[in-house]
Structure formats: structure tokens, C-alpha cells
């Protein structure tokens, strides 16, 4: 967290709410995103066709696939993994109509992996409902060697690519789906602050 000012590139995430005026709805979720899906389906469902792609995740606090299967009778596809969800999405996107509304829930890395798939079809991120669920873990892009490490929980992270200790900034790139990591001890080599878990 950087002091003093709010960095506007840091995405804001909301709770999923059905949108009006759509030709169809596609819900894409993983792991703890399951709870966001359940909350969404407690709201009055829209009349247009709904598709739901979901996968449980080993690191999530709970398994949701069974509950979701009971509550969502139509249009549900339960996948083996987040990767499989992305693959299913890739396969089905060409059949989606103009005006389809998208809803994404899960870890931040998952959300932006989905957005990456949608972007290919011209879907802008501002038109996608996003709910961050379960973990605050960050993907961190090393600005020095261009490696992106996933599931970073600490304020200081040692890059798996170049071994430098990176300070994790709040500056976020939607294109890369990651926060910027900058060498923390460039000015005084070896002066590395203790890493604290701030993205549990």
C-alpha cells in the first residue's frame, strides 16, 4: 500500500449484480468465486439465457460445485480447473451474441485471465462485472526482467526470474494482469525491509 495518495490504476471490484438490457448472460467463476455466484443467483434472475462456467480450486476455503449444481439447473458447466474454465470460455465465446453480459468472480489472477480471453472478442473490461473473492494474492510483474509471478502474499517479493527483491506497488496493468514490482534495494543494495504478509 502506498501512502499519501490513491493509485487510480488499481482496479475496483464490486459485488456481482445482474445487468439489464442484455441478450444473454455468461458467468465465469473459480474457487471462492463460488460464493459470489451463489449470491448472484439469490437475486431475481434475468429472462435471457444464462451460462455458468465454474471450477472448484484446491486453495479455496470451500468447495462450491455441488451446491451450485443443485441451485443452477440450466446452462451450468462444471470444469476440472480454472484453466479448463478458460478453455471452455474460449470455445464458447464465438457463439455469444452482441450484447452478452459477462460476470467474473474469483482470485485477481483468474479475473484478469478471463478478461484477457474476452479482450480478443472486443469486450472491454469496464463492461464486465467483477467480484474479487477469497484471496487478495497478487500477480507481480518484475519491471526489470519481465517475469510475472502469481500468488504473491507479501509486501516484498523475491522475483523468480532475476532473484531481485521487489517492492510490490499498487500500480496495476490490465494488459498484463499484474502489479508492478520494483527492486526495493536499488539505491542501497542489501537494504531489504522485512517482507510482511499483507495480501492474504
Amino acid at each position: 500500500m502506498e501512502r499519501g495518495y490513491w493509485i487510480r490504476s488499481k482496479p475496483l471490484y464490486d459485488s456481482l449484480v445482474w445487468k439489464q438490457h442484455a441478450t444473454g448472460h455468461v458467468v465465469i467463476a473459480e474457487g471462492d468465486g463460488g460464493i459470489a455466484v451463489l449470491k448472484l443467483f439469490q437475486q431475481m434472475c434475468p429472462r435471457e439465457p444464462i451460462k455458468l462456467l465454474f471450477a472448484d480450486d484446491a486453495s479455496a476455503s470451500k468447495k462450491y460445485a455441488d451446491i451450485i449444481t443443485k441451485l443452477v439447473p440450466e446452462g451450468l458447466q462444471v470444469c476440472e480447473s480454472g484453466e479448463a474454465v478458460l478453455a471452455a470460455l474460449r470455445e464458447q465465446l464465438p457463439d455469444c451474441l452482441m450484447g452478452t453480459q459477462f460476470y467474473v468472480a474469483g482470485s485477481e489472477a483468474f479475473i484478469w485471465a478471463v478478461l484477457d480471453e474476452l479482450k480478443v472478442f472486443g469486450v472491454q473490461d469496464r463492461n464486465v462485472e467483477k467480484e474479487l473473492s477469497g484471496t487478495l494474492a497478487r500477480s507481480v510483474y518484475c519491471v526489470h526482467c519481465k517475469t510475472t509471478d502469481k500468488n504473491v502474499h507479501h509486501s516484498i517479493h523475491q522475483c523468480s526470474g532475476c532473484g531481485r527483491h521487489l517492492f510490490v506497488r499498487d500500480h496495476f496493468s490490465r494488459r498484463l494482469g499484474a502489479y508492478m514490482g520494483v527492486m526495493v534495494d536499488a539505491e542501497e543494495p542489501g537494504n531489504i525491509p522485512a517482507a510482511e504478509e499483507i495480501y492474504p
Binding site: V143, H144, R174, R175
Partner: protein, 350 residues
Amino acid sequence: MNMAKTIAFKQETFRDDYSYSNSAEAIRRFPFPFAEDEYMYSVNIEQHTPGAPGSVFEHAIDIDEHYLAECEDRRITLENDPGRYIALPHMMDAQWDMVELVMESLSRDYPDLFELTRDGDNWHWVNKPLGIDQKFVFGDESTLPMEPFEYVGRQVQGDWVVMDQRDDDLFADMGIITSQADWSLAFDAGMSFKEWHGPVPQANELGIFDRALKYLLHLQYGSPVRRLNWTMTVNPRLDTSPEEYPLWGPDNVSVTADNVGQKVHLRVELQALFRLPRSNAMAFSIRGYLASIDDLKTYPRWAKRLRRVLTNLHPDLSEYKGLDNYRQLVIDYLAPMDDGAELELGTHPE
């Protein structure tokens, strides 16, 4: 007056031995940015119309004595890290717009240095300082040795970002960035205007970006605008990128009372914005000028003004611009020159 005949290009470096220096004439035309004793962000945009002969505002794209050395420094940086040039696939029209903007401007304003002959789409470009003589077909990428925007980007001083305009916003979808004040093109590419400027403190609170964006969305072809921005750099280094921070970071703590005059440089960016005709994109040029504290001290007015601005600077801005390690050393160094007398408004040297 045509400056072109009088430019003596310097052989100098912006890295390693840092042999960069300014002639007396380069100091005199330095775009000193402080008209008052206090500095805070403002939109401060004005029409980019031709300024006084000899000034950095005389031409749309300024060429000065550092031209060859800056082009060479850019070549080295791109060779080490090709990611300093990015053009997203939908920007090809804008690439050709940039070819036209650069070649038209330079050949018009510096006819002794650059020549452009157009015969329909068959163009002939001559860049005498760099020894380039190129015939190509405008609109046909295969007739140039590299992508069109990279080709012309390597032949101008300063960084360029080209922003695509859609959904009432501007997206940084193309750029050639090798002399940036600590921001990363590879990271920021594709960002919207406000995301890209996300890390700038105070400016959001002042509503600067909302107003600037509203203004820029309506920028017209043929009516470019400009503003000045500034920061400070230790050593005359162009490539103060986050990518190379491990290289230049240690310099930030190397300033002492003895070397502050030579080491610390005021780095002024002449930022100009041009609407591009085919793509409706917007070219944003960020042309940097470096002057050491000793260079600036040539003019007592500037020495006093700079000392006062640094003394009054908001702590958030000082931190953001990375000045905290040496700001006080500069203030102390200039103190003997400041008699405290009131300075009239304006940026002029004398």
C-alpha cells in the same frame, strides 16, 4: 531566422562517462519552467504555435545540438531492450500518421538537414545528420526496414506516446520510450489516461486529469497544444526507466555538497499533443531538456527561482519525483545566490 545552419551536433554520452554538456546557447534557450516561486500541478496547456526564433518553441518538433547523441542513446537502449517500443496491432494507421507528422515537420522546419519528396504514395526521405536516404511507399510497411513508427521514432529526440481515442478516453496503445522519468511503457501500454497517470500524487485530488482529459478529447487536427513538466535527475541520464533502476538507483544517493552543482540536473519535459488525421489518435511527445544546477546558475534569476520552488515544494511531489535524497543539498548550494529580493513573474533568464 533559420537555426538549422548553425546547429553544431555534439559527440557526447548520456551514460557511463556522462560527457553530456550544454553550450552557452543551449542554456540560454533552456525551457526553464518556473514562472513563480511556488509550484503545484495545473493543466497549464497552451497552443503549440511557433514561438520566438531560436527558442525550443520555434518549431513543432525541436532539433538541437544533442540530436545525434540522443538518437544514438535511443539506439543503444532499444538494442538492450526492444520492449521500449510497443505498437498494439490496431495502431497501424497511427504509425503512418506519425511518419507524416515527423517527416513533414522536420523537412519544413529544417530544410538544410531533412528533405522529403512526395510523389503520390512514393516518398523519398533524406536525413542528412543520420546519413539516411530512403525511398518508400507510404502505407506499405514492407518498403521500410522496420515498423513505420519505430523508423521515424528513432530519428527524433524525445519520447512519443500515441494514444488511441475510444469510449471518451485515451489509451496508451503505442510508444517509443527511452528517456522516461521513471515510468514503464511495457507496463503502462494499453492503459487509459487516468490509469496511466495513476501514480501521480495531488493531481487527481486537484481534478487535473479529469479536466485535462476533457480538454484533450476535443483536440483538433492542426491545432496542437503544449505544456511543460519537470523533474530532477542525478547525472545527465536519459534512460531513467524503472527497468534500469538497479543501474541508476545508486546515483540517487551519490550527491554531496561538493558535487551537487555538476551532478544534479533539472529535467524539463516539453510535452506537445497533436491530433493525427487518419487514425484520430493523439500523439504525445515528451521532449526532455537537461541542465545541471551549475548550468542554471549562469542566470541568477533562475538560481533564486529554483531554490525557492524547491524550498516550497509539496512533500508528496518531492517524494514522487524522487528528490528527497538531494533536494536540501540543492537548496543549500543555491542559498548564497538568493538575496531574497522579489522576482518578477516569468521564466526568462535575465
